[in-house]
């Protein structure tokens, strides 16, 4: 029983991490029809800079942990905004070129990060509590999973509030449905493109700092590894659906954890099978719009 609880809770925690990366991907695709392969680079840079700040402030304090998360969010948002303004916007309506430029940026960014921080993974540390466990129904859950769930819950709530309660949120929801009609109401939809990139980058930045604590290291490839699963989550949930991304994050990660534990470490394989089944049976994803 305690093993099931452990697998389930760690699955939900890992799903929370996937959601932090996938939420931005999904929003960006939904509004702009761009699969952003550079999203992992936002995450990695945020993790590196978050780690540098944490080191400067003292890695064991909660204060430095919180500041490093905020720095990660800010770095992710700024990097994503610059990417949209400098690389994506000049290629407006040229979706294939936009995707290609994000692929190029992702490769260039990894090479740059390796040049600056080296090719080896750098071990990191944080508040000691993160390495401790909390017992739930006999299962000893590593505390970092609670932080992942808390962060994803807060990001989800903030995104939902933003989308439901603000004019820009309304524009983004309308743009996901019918972008040209939004412009035909006199709204410059390109501003919301930049905003969506910034929001997605901030969420990825938070995810980057937390992924670093989850992995206990930071490396130039931190984002690329997570990005693969974030893409799977985005497709399974339905491109453009935030709720779909949230549901699929948990589903994919829980399935992955259970398969890893009970089916001899086949978690990644099972997840790819799930992706194939969803694409065959429901190509629009669990909560995506039908084409």
């Amino acid at each position: 029983m305690s093993t099931i609880i452990l697998t389930l809770v760690t699955g939900v925690g890992l799903g929370a991490l996937y959601f932090l990366v996938a939420s931005g991907l999904s929003l960006i695709y939904g509004l702009m029809h761009v699969l952003n392969f550079a999203h992992g680079a936002f995450l990695t840079l945020s993790a590196f800079l978050g780690w540098m700040v944490a080191q400067a402030l003292g890695t064991e304090s909660w204060w430095s942990f919180l500041v490093s998360i905020l720095v990660g969010a800010a770095v992710g948002a700024v990097f994503a905004t610059l990417t949209e303004l400098v690389l994506i916007r000049p290629l407006y309506e040229r979706h294939i070129e936009q995707v290609l430029v994000t692929v190029g940026l992702s490769f260039a960014a990894v090479a740059l990060f390796e040049g600056v921080w080296g090719t080896d993974a750098i071990p990191i540390s944080g508040p000691p509590w993160l390495k401790e466990t909390t017992e739930i129904l006999g299962a000893r859950i590593p505390n970092v999973y609670w932080i992942l769930m808390l962060a994803a819950g807060l990001v989800l709530a903030a995104l939902v509030l933003f989308l439901k309660k603000t004019r820009y949120g309304m524009i983004i929801r309308a743009g996901v449905e019918n972008r040209s009609m939004v412009t035909a109401l006199g709204i410059d939809v390109r501003r919301s493109f930049t905003l969506v990139f910034a929001i997605g980058g901030a969420a990825a930045g938070i995810g980057g700092v937390l992924a670093m604590h989850y992995s206990t290291f930071v490396s130039a490839h931190l984002g690329s590894t997570l990005l693969i699963f974030a893409f799977i989550v985005t497709v399974v949930g339905g491109l453009g659906s935030l709720t779909g991304a949230a549901v699929a994050s948990v589903l994919v990660a829980v399935l992955q954890q259970f398969a890893n534990f009970y089916l001899g470490g086949t978690g990644d394989f099972i997840v790819v099978i799930l992706l194939a089944v969803v694409l065959l049976v429901r190509p629009s994803g669990l909560l995506g719009r039908k084409a």
Binding site: M170, A174, E177, N178, T183, A184, L185, G186, D188, V189
Partner: protein
Amino acid sequence: MSAILDVSDLRCSIAGQPVVESVTFSVPATGITAVLGRNGVGKTSTLRGILGLIHRRGEVRLAGERIDALPTHRIVQRGVGYVPEDREVFAKLTVAENLALAERQRNPRREFVAELFPDLVNRRDQMAGTLSGGQQQMVSVARALMNDNQLLLVDEPTKGLAPKIVTEVADALEEAAKTVPILLVEQNLEVVKRLAHDAIVIDSGRVVHVGPAREILDDEDLTQRLLGVHAERQADAGTAPSSEAHS
């Protein structure tokens, strides 16, 4: 009479394929001007070209100022309201949100719209995708009426609607036309007869006739020749001809 819109040698294409060859016409600063024509001649594309929603070349002037190089949102901000074919309401947004999105000016005309479409007030919290076709059309027209525009482009507002709703939509357009000129694409010739003062007939991507709407519609031979349909027969049927699809 002065013109609010001057279109000169407008050519439009979609995915590289020409859909409007070369249209030239003016829209008077008052009343409703109808754009008529057979199926697929480029009426809808002409409206979309004026708005910059599809690739276009040529000259378009709004109140004397060129707007053909502007992006769509800037053209709309200059005071052009648009009611698209097939309504294009945002299905997952409420009625109130659909209308709020359209508000561009500090004092949007909420009361005017509420008087025209009281049903929408009662349904303000309903998802637009769950409305009937007629109610969705009201949302679409209401969005265009939220601001003090210089011109409205209205594309087939009565398409697929029940006769009672057709009358309601026509009433709303008639009321709106008291304050803003309208360029109307419409297949229902009875509605055109009731609302439009002038008419522009397009065929094969070109303007082939311009004149008072009644002059065309009261002349059965002219109607048959230009539009391929008998206005009288259509009136008897009470709807747009079934052979006509949207262009």
